[in-house]
C-alpha cells in the first residue's frame, strides 16, 4: 500500500514539472503572437479610414506579407525591415507569420486575396506546392512578390518578381576582394575554405562564385584545403585546428562561407599562436554583428554582406510594378562588402 502511494506522489510530481515546462512554452507562444500573430492576419498600420476604398487613393497601398517564421536573427531582421519599410512609405501592412508551416502560409495568402490587398509579398516555407494558391492570386489580379526564397514552379507568370540574395555573387565578391588585396604580390597564395552545410544552396553557390573568380588566376591562388564546418562556430574551430596542424604557416587566406565559422576559426588561429587577419587573412560572408566586433578588434579582414534589410527595395519594386513599369523577374538584393577599417564606425549601426 505504501509503495502504491509513493509512486502516485511521484507521478503527481512529474505532472507538476510538466506543467511548469508547459508554462514556459506558453509564454514563448504568447510572445511570438505579440510579434506577429500566429496564423490569423493582423493589421499593423494605423489609418483605417482609407482601408475601405482601395484604389481611391493611389498613393496608399495595402500589402500582405507572409513571412516564413522567426527562426534566426537574420529572419527577425528581415521581418523588421519589411514592416518598417512598408509603414514608412505610408502603406498599410497585413502581416502573417507562417511559423514554418506551408499550411499557414497558404491560409494567409487566401485571406489576403479575400481582403483584396494590392500586393502580396511572401517568403515561401518550401519551394513547391504553391501553384493553386498563386493561381488564385493571379485570377484575382493581385501581383505576388517573392522575398528571399524562390518557388519551384514552371509558370513564371504566377509571380511578379523574386527579390533575394545572389549567393554566387557573394562568393565572387569575396574572391574579388582577395584578388585586389594580393594584386602586388607574387603567388602562390594558399587558401583554406570552410564550407557551409553540405548540399545547402548558400554553400554550393558561395563556393561556385569564389572558384569562378580565382580560376582566372590558376597559378597564383590555390585552395589547398576545403572542408565543411556546417555553418557552426564549434565545427569551424575544430576544422581550422586540423588545417593548422597539417598546413600551419603555409595558409595565407581563410575563406569561410559564413561569419560564425570564421569566428570559431579565429579562436583556433589565436590558440595556434598565429595572428588572425595578419598571418592569415580572413574573409567571411553574412556581415553579422559578431563579424563587425571581430573586425573592430583587428581579427578579421572582410565580410561580404548577405543583407536581410530588403524592405525598402521591396517597396520600390511593388510601387514600380503597380505603376505599370516593367520589372525583372529576378532582382538581387543590394549588398555591400565591409572591411576592417570600416568596422569600428559601423558597429553601432548594425541591426543584427
Amino acid at each position: 500500500m505504501k509503495k502504491l502511494f509513493s509512486s502516485k506522489v511521484l507521478v503527481l510530481l512529474m505532472m507538476l514539472l510538466l506543467l511548469v515546462l508547459a508554462a514556459c512554452g506558453g509564454e514563448s507562444e504568447k510572445s511570438s503572437g505579440e510579434n506577429g500573430g500566429s496564423d490569423s492576419t493582423e493589421t499593423d498600420s494605423g489609418g483605417s479610414d482609407s482601408s475601405g476604398d482601395k484604389g481611391g487613393d493611389s498613393e496608399k497601398l495595402v500589402i500582405g506579407f507572409s513571412q516564413v517564421g522567426a527562426e534566426s536573427e537574420w529572419r527577425t531582421a528581415n521581418t523588421k525591415s519589411m514592416k518598417a519599410a512598408i509603414e514608412d512609405a505610408g502603406h498599410e501592412l497585413k502581416f502573417s507569420d507562417a511559423q514554418q508551416k506551408q499550411e499557414n502560409q497558404i491560409k494567409a495568402i487566401r485571406s489576403f486575396i479575400a481582403q483584396k490587398v494590392d500586393a502580396i509579398v511572401f517568403s515561401p516555407v518550401v519551394e513547391t506546392g504553391f501553384e493553386t494558391v498563386l493561381q488564385e492570386a493571379k485570377d484575382a489580379g493581385i501581383p505576388v512578390f517573392l522575398s528571399d526564397r524562390a518557388v519551384d514552379i514552371e509558370d513564371d507568370s504566377l509571380w511578379a518578381t523574386f527579390l533575394g540574395s545572389d549567393f554566387v555573387e557573394e562568393g565572387r565578391k569575396a574572391a574579388r576582394w582577395m584578388v585586389e588585396e594580393y594584386k602586388d604580390e607574387e603567388g602562390p597564395i594558399n587558401i583554406v575554405e570552410l564550407q557551409g552545410t553540405v548540399g545547402s544552396a548558400p554553400a554550393i553557390d558561395r563556393k561556385e562564385g569564389f572558384e569562378e573568380v580565382i580560376s582566372e588566376y590558376p597559378e597564383k591562388f590555390k585552395i589547398i584545403k576545403s572542408q565543411t564546418g556546417e555553418f557552426t562556430r564549434s565545427k569551424g574551430k575544430e576544422v581550422m585546428e586540423a588545417f593548422l596542424k597539417s598546413d600551419g604557416e603555409n595558409i595565407d587566406v581563410l575563406y569561410s562561407h559564413n561569419d560564425d565559422m570564421a569566428i570559431g576559426a579565429i579562436q583556433a588561429i589565436e590558440e595556434y599562436g598565429l595572428k588572425p587577419a595578419e598571418d592569415i587573412k580572413i574573409i567571411g560572408v553574412d556581415a553579422v554583428r559578431g563579424a563587425f566586433e571581430a573586425m573592430a578588434d583587428g581579427k578579421m579582414n572582410v565580410t561580404v554582406e548577405c543583407n536581410p534589410l530588403t524592405g525598402p527595395q521591396m517597396v520600390e519594386l511593388i510601387e514600380a510594378h503597380l505603376a505599370g513599369e516593367k520589372i525583372e523577374k529576378r532582382v538581387s538584393v543590394e549588398e555591400g562588402i565591409y572591411t576592417m577599417d570600416q568596422a569600428e564606425e559601423l558597429l553601432p549601426t548594425r541591426k543584427y
Binding site: G25, S28, E71, E73, V198, K225, Q227, A242, K245, G273
Partner: protein
C-alpha cells in the same frame, strides 16, 4: 593478447593514427607553443573530451540494458544554462562567483534532466528509448528557450578556462575527463556498484528478488549520464565561448552509442567496458580529425566514417573473424597439403 576485448579497438586506433603519419610526417610531433603543448594528438584528446565523457555515462546506462538518447539535448541545455549566467554584460573578469554559479546551475540542470529520465524509466516503467526520446526532443526546445533562439556569445574570461584553458601545459578538459573516468572506474570496479549495474542489466527481476534495489540503480545511472552530458556541454560551450541551442551536441547521442559499441559493450546490457568506451570515443575523434587533415572531400566524409566503423564492428565479431581468418587458415592448409 588477441583474446583481450581491448585488442581490436586499440589496433584500429593505432592504424588510423599511423595512416595520418603516412600523409603528414609531423603528425605525432608534439611541440611547445605559447607555453603549452600542441599537436594533433593533443587536439584529438582535447576535442574528444566531451564525447568521452558522454560515452562514459552512456556505457553505464547501456550496461543496464537501457539507452539514453537525450544526452545531445542535455549538452545543449547545460551549455545554454551556463552561457545564460555568464553572458550578462558587465561581469568583471576578476570575480569567480559567476563562474561557479554557472557551473552549479548547468550541472544542476543536467542532473535534474538525468533524474527525469531515471524516474520515467525506473518508477513509471517507460521503455528507456521512449523515455529519453522525450527529453531528446524537449531538451533542445528548453535550450532554445534559455538562449531565446539566438547564439549567446560569452565575453567573460574565466569561463573559457574550463574548455579552453591549460593546466601543466595540457588542455584542462583532459583533466576533467581523467577525473570523471577515475570516479566511474572507482565506483564500478572498487565498490559493488559495478556488480549491481551488471546484475540489473542481465536480469532486473532476479536482481530484485536477491534484494537489490534495482529501481534506484537505474535511477542512478541515468542521473550519472545526465551529469556527464552536462559537463560535456559546459566544455563544448566554454571552448568556443558561445552557446548555440540549435546545434550544440547535435547527434552526440549517436556518436556516444557508437563509441560504447565499438568499445565492446553489448547493447543487450549486463557487461560493460569503460576503457573500451574511451578507446571507442578516441577512434571516432581520430577519424574526424584525420578526415579534416588529409583533405577528404566533405561530400564523402560520412561514407568514410561509416566504412571504418563497419570494419571495427566486423573485427569485433568472433563469428566474422572465425569465418574470414578461419577461411584463410583452412585455405592455407589446403595449399600446404597440395604442395606436399
Amino acid at each position: 593478447m588477441i583474446k583481450s576485448r581491448l585488442f581490436w579497438p586499440i589496433l584500429v586506433l593505432v592504424l588510423i593514427l599511423l595512416l595520418n603519419l603516412f600523409f603528414d610526417p609531423g603528425f605525432f610531433s608534439v611541440e611547445v607553443r605559447g607555453g603549452h603543448l600542441t599537436g594533433s594528438l593533443i587536439d584529438i584528446l582535447n576535442r574528444g573530451a566531451p564525447l568521452i565523457l558522454i560515452a562514459i555515462g552512456m556505457t553505464l546506462v547501456i550496461a543496464t540494458a537501457g539507452i539514453d538518447l537525450s544526452v545531445g539535448s542535455v549538452v545543449a541545455m547545460a551549455g545554454a544554462m551556463a552561457a545564460f549566467v555568464v553572458s550578462k554584460p558587465g561581469l568583471s573578469d576578476d570575480s569567480l562567483v559567476p563562474l561557479f554559479t554557472a557551473l552549479a546551475l548547468a550541472i544542476g540542470l543536467s542532473v535534474v534532466a538525468g533524474m527525469w529520465n531515471g524516474l520515467l524509466v525506473s518508477r513509471i516503467g517507460v521503455q528507456p528509448i521512449v523515455a529519453t526520446l522525450i527529453l531528446m526532443v524537449a531538451g533542445r526546445g528548453i535550450a532554445q528557450l534559455i538562449t531565446n533562439g539566438q547564439i549567446l556569445t560569452i565575453y567573460y574570461e574565466p569561463y573559457s578556462f574550463v574548455g579552453g584553458g591549460y593546466l601543466l601545459m595540457l588542455p584542462f578538459s583532459i583533466f576533467i575527463v581523467a577525473a570523471v573516468l577515475a570516479l566511474a572506474l572507482f565506483l564500478t570496479r572498487k565498490t559493488s556498484i559495478g556488480l549491481f549495474i551488471e546484475s540489473v542489466g542481465s536480469n532486473p527481476e532476479a536482481s530484485r528478488l536477491t534484494g537489490l534495489n534495482s529501481k534506484n540503480i537505474l535511477l542512478m545511472v541515468y542521473i550519472f549520464s545526465g551529469f556527464c552530458a552536462g559537463i560535456g556541454g559546459i566544455i563544448l560551450s566554454s571552448n568556443v565561448s558561445a552557446a548555440d541551442g540549435n546545434n550544440a551536441g547535435l547527434w552526440f547521442e549517436l556518436d556516444a552509442i557508437l563509441a560504447v559499441v565499438i568499445g565492446g559493450t553489448s547493447l543487450m546490457g549486463g557487461k560493460f567496458h569503460l576503457m573500451g568506451t574511451v578507446i571507442g570515443a578516441l577512434i571516432i575523434q581520430s577519424l574526424t580529425t584525420t578526415i579534416y587533415s588529409i583533405g577528404i572531400p566533405p561530400e564523402v566524409n560520412l561514407v568514410v566514417k561509416a566504412v571504418v566503423v563497419l570494419i571495427v564492428c566486423l573485427l569485433q565479431s568472433p563469428e566474422f573473424r572465425k569465418k574470414v581468418l578461419g577461411g584463410l587458415k583452412s585455405k592455407a592448409n589446403r595449399d600446404a597439403k597440395g604442395v606436399a
